[in-house]
């Protein structure tokens, strides 16, 4: 807690100072990212290039999308372990809608995203109405989604070869002539929407409020149950979106993938400064967290560090990054 000492009179001014400090902190979270990037730029001649930067951004898309959605759940004091396999299930559903049923793109893609919302809705119901601890509720969903993805796809990938334009969602270039994959635009768009919702709407406000003190929120006359369901369902849309993005990138829905993505996404959220005990966090932070992981992975591979050492270094760098970030926050 930063102790801002002011007499009551100066309080209005203090408010501004507090806000400014908040901004500063977020900028400083960038610092880790910048330092790491700078290091790699010096250490390897191949790191600092337009192509490599787009490659890093591109590789952030799926984890980033999942992380953005789950930021809401975590700020609200919950956790979602089903995002990884849920994503695989949504990818399969996208295949079912577009390939098996043959819906047009403009219907099938939203349907797959909404299916993610449905997964979230069920999670929300289990957590908010049945009062099952989020860890268990979403762990169960993780298993169910994993199984269903295999069942619905007959344990085989579904290929989107005949769905014109599907892979363009990810790998196409909206801006003609510029090599900038659409997937990155989708990620940024999703982040923008999420950030606006989180900071500017009632949904976002109640997300913070519930995570900060669920009981007090309920005592304030807010239907916490309903809003919690809404938060999980909304976060679920990002599971769906991630399912579309991964299958569009691969050109196929891989039913067996997804396990382990949840930990990576949650790690991105937490590295980005969102507290697992709820009440605080931001979308920008999450994006930075996801980028830190991507940059580290990319940089270590580019430097041709032997792979068994990569994880060791990755772990240490994450520790140091989070630690220095905390020190800095304390000092401001």
């Amino acid at each position: 807690m930063t102790a801002t000492k002011v007499s009551a009179r100066e309080s209005a001014q203090t408010g501004l100072v507090t806000v400014a400090k908040g901004r500063l902190q977020q900028l400083l979270a960038f610092a880790s990212l910048i330092v790491i990037s700078a290091f790699f730029s010096v250490a390897s001649p191949y790191f600092f290039s337009y192509d490599n930067f787009t490659a890093i951004l591109f590789s952030t898309v799926v984890i980033g999308t999942l992380a953005i959605g789950t930021t809401f759940v975590i700020i609200a004091g919950g956790i979602d372990l089903s995002i990884g396999t849920g994503m695989a299930l949504c990818a399969v559903m996208s295949g079912v809608f577009l390939v098996d049923i043959g819906l047009p793109l403009a219907l099938g893609v939203p349907a797959a995203i909404l299916f993610g919302g449905l997964i979230g809705l069920v999670n929300g119901f289990n957590v908010a109405v049945l009062k099952i601890p989020p860890f268990i509720a979403t762990l169960a969903m993780m298993l169910v989604a994993q199984g269903l993805a295999l069942v619905l796809s007959d344990s085989a990938p579904i290929y989107f070869t005949d769905v014109a334009g599907y892979t363009d969602i990810s790998t196409g270039n909206l801006l003609p002539g510029v090599r900038f994959p659409n997937a990155v635009l989708v990620l940024l768009g999703a982040a923008l929407v999420a950030a606006v919702l989180l900071t500017k709407t009632v949904l976002g406000r109640y997300t913070y409020s519930i995570g900060s003190n669920e009981e007090a929120t309920a005592l304030s006359g807010i239907n916490v149950r309903r809003w919690k369901i809404a938060i999980y369902a909304f976060a679920g849309l990002f599971i769906g979106l991630a399912g579309v993005m991964i299958s569009a990138r691969l050109g196929s829905a891989q039913p067996a993938t997804g396990m382990g993505y949840e930990l990576q996404a949650i790690a991105a959220v937490v590295i980005g400064g969102t507290s697992l005990s709820g009440g605080k966090g931001s979308i920008v932070g999450t994006l930075i967290g996801a980028l830190i992981i991507s940059v580290l992975n990319n940089g270590l591979q580019i430097m041709s560090i032997p792979q068994e050492w990569q994880n060791v270094i990755l772990g240490c760098v994450i520790l140091v990054a989070v630690y220095t970030d905390m020190i800095r926050k304390k000092e401001t």
């Binding site: 790191f47 290929y159 591979q301």
Partner: protein, 301 residues
Amino acid sequence: ACGSAGDGAGGGGEPYVAIVSKGFQHQFWQAVKKGAEQEASKRGARVTFVGPATEQEVEEQLNMLTNALAKQPDALGFAALDSKAAAPLLQQAQSQDVPVIAFDSGVDSGIPVTTVATDNKAAAAEAAKHLAEELGGKGKVALVVHDQTSLSGVDRRDGFVEWMEQNAPGITVLPAQYGGGDQLESANITKSIISANPDLDGIYASNEGSAIGVIKGVQESGASGVTVVGFDSGQAQIDAIRNGQMLGAVTQNPIGMGERLVDAALKAIEGQRLPETVDTGFYWYDKSNIDDEKIQAVLYQ
């Protein structure tokens, strides 16, 4: 839609073969499963097929093997992730008079009545040979391997690397990178390799998931002049070979493996003598022979 009624009553004379595989979700294992089920229904037998989610879950495989034995099968098909670990359980199978058929890779023990397998190392060497030919014996190649500790990962890596060392001195082989068989991760790794090695000439991918990732990675990075060879089959690789993104791939014959496995099991139940090994072979396929009947028969989509 599940839990077929009247299960459990193993009687009725229908022989029951329990199969414990190295994996379940990957296409390769699904193809083995398909072959086994086809053969079983043809021969009036019943099979169950289970396998752990990744090839690292040795302990989980032992639990599956234990549970399979508890069901008192008439024969057991087993692809060991670590053959020494399973020794006590195989002993148990022997004492229960359950014949064991090893498949995919050998089991370090005298218990299996036969081994239905291919030589992963030789198959990988075949891929190396074709890649070296295509590159004219010189250049720089990278490997994206699905696993660094499992037998299949190690054999498919070493088979490739050793062949290159012995037969293509002009080719530099970069250290292998491991993507866990995950398409996305393999794609990201591929892009990093290409960034770090602008002069790269070829990439070898050691299983289906790695291959899909490598194809995507090469495609996304826009690099031209990188020759890709792969392993296993599946729609993505078949398409990539047809449209020239991939030179070719080695495939084993997983469906055939499943069929021979069940065939061997049924013969063992009847008490027939079996050869020590049943080689299910491997095949190199590329644009030129992909439509051959013989190749088509071993590919899965």
